[in-house]
């Protein structure tokens, strides 16, 4: 069939760019390889290499632009465009569409490598050929992920330009495609971007994180170049600023992911030790270790092997984490599902090539390393920095080993399930590492290279030590910090903050320019401090309303942390009184408005703020609860809905709202209390002095009026149903409280015991809506975010200082 209106030309253009980017990367890698040989042909090889890499860069730019044009023009004939975008979506999320898919995110990664490569072509000087040869080789592999060609039985890569929606194996038989004009069908639309990702964090988090990933290739390439060209020390100086930049950007990227999780996901926090989070944390820890060892070696020539090892490892771990999160292996054993595009095999090959390249070269060259003449002194800065880097390595190993359980299961045929209390497990394991690292951060800079007079050291550090100790007690007192195990980290991170502040002021004389390391360390310590306090003093203020003690069932059943809020009721929750106002729908989001009150001195309710946690009726993932958080300087109130009746949305209510539900009969005596769903009703008294004119009573009627007080939260109403006997039959006169939708009828008096029988009817709209909600307070979480910013500033200062030294 001839399909009308398809834009097949642009896909062909895109595909040409894909092939060109692969070919030129290959050419650049090979010619840079020969250029690195430094023989008489080297210069001409270099020329070819440079041009090839630039053409590779242009091709990547071509791919990116083509894909953008396709997304912006809604060319839904392409599977990628249909899969990740639609017409309704705001343009600002077009970026998110771009990298939502597997192919787009590889493209983003490739793009950053191109940017870094183009800078290195200018800045790497002597190292240009070997370093660029490695980077171009990485690009060969990344470009192959987009090729989308089939060799025999094997598919190589997935190409967004060649996969047409109507040819996609899953959709090709759909009746839509029996219409040659299917694209002109006004109702045909893309599947759209996952609404969860339509969040501003998701427009800035992926590019930042991928730039962080990309930056690890630079120390890796330099390390390989150093080994290859036997320039065992020369590679450090030019690659150090890059390593710092990697630490900064990857660190920020990870924390941005945490911020997104805290804002948009309802797992109740910013860090859940999720495999995907761990997969980027582990390379960061190794990169931080590498940066420190490279610095030692640069300054003192020690720990060379370990510096090489960690610089290579951090990039390999990026590849490993790509494998973990993209191959679908985590999805097989856990219920967390990850998208797969049949790339598992390719990713494994990719990873093993670089593992072999990196480690084989390291082992071969090991013998040629300059001999270390003397051992580090125990009171030297380099020794403790080395210890710190090793602690980071072990910490990363623990995280990585546990995250890899699905891999072990597959490799060794085991059947291990993930732990239930994963967060606790990780926290307990990581605490000692974090303690040692923060203690080292505190004392590290007070050690001198080579040797330190221990007397002087103790004199210098003692001030910070005692100040930190006093501050720790103060914090323990203020926050009622009661976990002894974790209080050692409380001390050590405060100690690290104070000691670095002290070092900055007293030793560096407040010169901010030189204080990059101190400031970065303060930031890191603050991140830990904020995470520690906000997590261990996290206070779940929503409590079980049932009164049943579920903890009797066992320790693991103490999760009575939900509160049931009925519309209009005011319940106590922590230090607040909360009222569920109602729900409203905006697009696919259903918001649940909850008001928060406190009592002032006179006992009056004062509204403090409102929160509107929502449930997103996500067409892609089902209903997803998203939290709403109120930020204060010293704490956050974080809430999300755990259960709500979404079926009875507003329209249903309108239909039945004015009808009265079935009457309920009550036999009561004076002083008794009744409850309707929205009010408290007290039976006050009976009287026979009924207003005859008002109620149009006739002579001979017997009338008794009952007096009720009807109380809701704000007001007091009266209801006076009248019992009338006329001509020997009971003809009661109803009494209504229209504001509350209540109707009273007075049916009977028992003269013996004074009891009366009434019936009470409620409007159907009174059957009130309710939600089940979880609310928690995160104290001092702002310390964590401040720490992030401080750490970023510190590392940037360190990069600038290093660049100043280099030039």
């Amino acid at each position: 069939m001839e399909y009308i209106g398809e834009h097949l030309g642009i896909g062909k253009v895109g595909n040409v760019f894909v092939i060109l980017s692969f070919v030129f990367a290959l050419l650049a890698s090979i010619s840079y390889f020969f250029a690195a040989k430094e023989n008489e042909d080297a210069a001409s090889w270099k020329k070819i290499a440079r041009i090839s890499f630039r053409l590779h860069g242009l091709s990547v730019l071509g791919i990116v632009s083509t894909l953008f044009i396709m997304l912006m023009n809604h060319y839904f004939e392409y599977e990628y465009v249909w899969h990740h975008s639609n017409r309704e979506m705001p343009m600002r999320y077009i970026l998110s569409c771009f990298w939502e898919g597997q192919e787009g995110s590889f493209l983003l990664w490739t793009f950053w490598h191109v940017v870094l490569g183009l800078i290195l072509q200018h800045s790497a000087k002597n190292f240009e050929a070997p370093v660029m040869s490695v980077i171009a080789l990485v690009q060969v592999f990344l470009a192959s992920m987009l090729l989308g060609i089939t060799i025999g039985e094997y598919h190589l890569g997935s190409n967004p330009f060649t996969v047409l929606l109507r040819e996609h194996p899953e959709y090709s038989k759909i009746p839509l495609f029996s219409d040659a004009h299917y694209l002109a069908n006004p109702a045909f639309d893309g599947r759209g971007l996952n609404p969860l990702l339509q969040n501003y964090w998701m427009t800035i988090h992926p590019p930042t994180l991928f730039l962080g990933f990309a930056l690890t290739v630079v120390p890796f390439a330099y390390a390989i170049a150093g080994l290859w060209k036997k320039q065992f020390n020369e590679w450090l100086k030019p690659s150090l600023p890059w390593t710092y930049a990697g630490v900064t950007v990857l660190g920020i990227g990870i924390l941005m992911g945490g911020a997104w999780a805290y804002e948009a996901l309802s797992f109740g926090g910013f860090w859940a030790w999720d495999p995907v989070e761990n997969a980027s944390l582990v390379p960061w820890l190794i990169l931080v270790g590498a940066a420190h060892l490279m610095l030692i070696n640069r300054n003192k020539g020690q720990s060379l092997f370990t510096a090489f090892f960690l610089a290579i490892l951090s990039f390999l771990l990026i590849l490993y984490s790509t494998y973990l999160t993209r191959s679908g292996i985590l999805g097989e054993t856990s219920v967390h599902s990850f998208p797969t595009a049949g790339m598992a095999g390719q990713l494994l090959v990719y990873m093993f090539c670089f593992v072999i390249l990196g480690f084989a070269l390291l082992i071969i060259r090991w013998r040629d390393f300059p001999k270390q003449t003397q051992e580090e002194g125990i009171w030297s800065r380099e020794f403790w920095m080395f210890v710190g880097a090793i602690v980071l390595l072990v910490s990363a190993f623990q995280i990585s080993f546990y995250t890899s359980i699905p891999v072990w299961n597959k490799l060794f045929g085991m059947n291990k399930a993930p732990l239930k209390e994963v967060v606790k497990f990780y926290n307990n394991w990581q605490l000692p590492f974090a303690f040692v690292v923060t203690m080292l951060i505190a004392v590290g800079q007070f050690f001198k290279y080579k040797n330190t007079s221990i007397k002087e050291f103790l004199k210098k550090i003692s001030v910070s030590f005692f100040v930190a100790l006093a501050l720790t007690f103060l914090v323990v007192y203020i926050t009622k910090f009661d976990d002894r195990y974790f209080s050692i980290l409380l001390f050590s991170s405060i100690f690290a903050t104070i000691a670095n502040l002290d070092y900055m002021i007293r030793v560096l004389g407040g010169k901010v320019r030189k204080a990059g390391a101190s400031i970065a360390h303060i930031g890191f310590a603050l991140v830990l401090l904020g995470a520690l306090i906000s997590t261990s003093k996290k206070d779940v203020i929503s409590q079980n309303t049932s009164g049943k003690d579920v903890t009797q069932l066992g320790k693991s059943f103490s999760n009575n942390d939900n509160i049931l809020l009925t519309q209009g009721d005011t319940l106590k929750m922590g230090k607040y009184l909360v009222t569920y106002i109602g729900k409203r729908q905006e697009g696919i989001n259903i918001y649940f408005d909850v008001d928060y009150f406190t009592k002032d001195e006179s006992g009056k309710l004062v509204k403090e703020f409102s929160l509107s946690p929502l449930v997103q009726t996500n067409p892609r993932m089902g209903n997803v609860a998203e939290p709403d958080t109120r930020h204060f300087l010293t704490y956050d109130v974080y809430t999300h809905v755990t259960f709500a009746d979404l079926e009875t949305l507003l329209e249903k209510k309108k239909e039945t709202g004015d009808e009265y539900a079935t009457a309920k009969n009550h036999t009561i005596k004076k002083g008794d209390t009744l409850f309707s769903s929205n009010a408290i009703i007290i039976f006050d008294s009976l009287s026979v002095n009924v207003d005859k004119v008002k109620y149009q009573l006739k002579e001979g009627d017997i009338a008794v009026e009952a007096h009720f007080q009807v109380l809701d939260i704000q007001k007091k109403y009266k209801a006076n149903p009248i019992y009338v006997i006329r001509n020997n039959s009971i003809q009661p006169i109803e009494s209504r409280v229209d504001e509350l939708g209540l109707k009273f009828m007075f049916w009977e008096i028992n003269p013996e015991d004074g009891k009366i029988q009434i019936s009470l009817q409620e409007k159907k709209s009174n059957v009130r809506d309710f939600i089940v909600m979880q609310a928690m307070i995160f104290p001092y979480i702002n310390i964590l975010w401040i720490g992030c910013i401080v750490m970023a500033i510190g590392t940037i200062l360190a990069i600038l200082e290093r660049l100043r030294k280099t030039s």
């Binding site: 839904f76 249909w82 929606l165 899953e170 959709y171 839509l176 299917y182 069908n185 109702a187 045909f188 639309d189 599947r191 219920v335 599902s337 051992e375 580090e376 125990i378 020794f383 090793i390 390595l393 072990v394 190993f397 623990q398 080993f401 546990y402 359980i405 059947n415 291990k416 399930a417 993930p418 732990l419 239930k420 394991w429 079980n544 309303t545 049932s546 049943k548 579920v550 069932l553 066992g554 693991s556 059943f557 999760n559 009575n560 942390d561 939900n562 509160i563 049931l564 009925t566 449930v615 067409p619 993932m621 089902g622 209903n623 997803v624 609860a625 755990t642 259960f643 309710f770 089940v772």
Partner: protein, 129 residues
């Protein structure tokens, strides 16, 4: 012996400790029958919701109590008492993982993980809205 060697030994000890505790602390996937043979121990049981039987959740009585029937992968059915709120989209789940223990004839679950059907996840090209 050099300091570096002492450090190396400590690292190896910690690493072995990490491996050992990881392997010891994890529970395994099991069926209801296996969970019943070892009451009081925690298991992960994988299965499907029995849609023919009633799933009861009345948050007005207890917002943290939800009971339903699940059929495990070996075909055995068991009543499940979940001590949590009813998860959103529970009826749509295609696979359930329960974490908890057997007590008598009931499986007392403290946590639940769900997998939603891929068709629902993916959606299909359509011109009908």
């Amino acid at each position: 012996m050099k300091k570096i060697h002492i450090l190396g030994i400590i690292i190896i000890a910690v690493a072995i400790g990490a491996i050992f505790t990881t392997l010891n602390n994890t529970s395994t996937y099991a069926s209801f029958a296996e969970a019943a043979s070892d009451p009081g121990s925690e298991f992960h049981v994988v299965g499907k919701l029995n849609k023919d039987k009633e799933a009861i959740y009345d948050p007005k009585i207890d917002a943290n109590l939800f009971t339903f029937y699940m059929i495990d992968n070996k075909g055995m059915e068991c009543k499940v008492v979940l001590h949590k709120n009813k998860p959103q989209d529970f009826e749509r789940s295609e696979q359930i993982v329960l974490i908890g223990q057997m007590e008598g004839q009931e499986f007392q679950a403290s946590d639940i993980l769900m997998k939603c059907p891929s068709k629902y996840n993916e959606g299909q090209p359509t011109a009908v809205k």
